[in-house]
Symmetry: C2
Subunit: 111 residues, 2 copies
Amino acid sequence: MATNKKEAFSQKEQELAEFAKAMAHPARIAILKVLAKHNECICGEIVDVLPLAQSTVSQHLKELKNAGLIDGTIDGPRSCYCINWKAFEKFFAEFSGLFTALKIKNEKACC
Amino acid sequence: MATNKKEAFSQKEQELAEFAKAMAHPARIAILKVLAKHNECICGEIVDVLPLAQSTVSQHLKELKNAGLIDGTIDGPRSCYCINWKAFEKFFAEFSGLFTALKIKNEKACC
DNA sequence: TTCTTTCATCGTATATTTGCGATATAAAAC
DNA sequence: GTTTTATATCGCAAATATACGATGAAAGAA
């Protein structure tokens, strides 16, 4: 039984995991790359670049948005997405803070 | 049909996604934290700390090992795990390289 | 040899993710 | 008004992930 035990972990652990999960698919990495490359916000260009159907891309965009990695506004038939650098940096700092801080004191490998 | 389209993406995108996936669960974040905190390699102590069954923890350890984030050696009844800092750094640099480099030229938000 | 301890792996059930086609929606073009 | 264009959402099927108990394996203790 896959009874969800995620709540049993700390808030921070869950947040980090959520962030990682949002990036845990090549399609979403590719989307982030496209969004980062273009200065202006991209809509359906992503669909042209990716080897996926429009509905699938839209779903991935939704997940990235839910995770807070990107911002998006819907303007009728046209939508506008862009990377949420602030959120990105926050999580990124949390990651490195968690591990690089600990890394200093035990550099030696043991296995 | 969830026909796996992951191969349609670049090697680097897949690697980054694999790395992210390995961290995409609070239990695995927690395991990494425990391994990082203890200078020596940990075996069953992780099971005591986490709110999960031994078999589940072992499975998470296996995934982390497969992803290359930790090293592990089995010494009969006792096993020894520790963080693979080299691999960790490599991926971490790849992440930041991918995004922070791009961040410089388009700091302005558009949405 | 026969326990005991420590862990990995197998089998299973359930939950979540992934992907697509079909359909809805909403503004602009006609 | 109708049509077109761009995107979101729904519903479904297949794949993966999550979790556990049961069992297996391997080394040391009795």
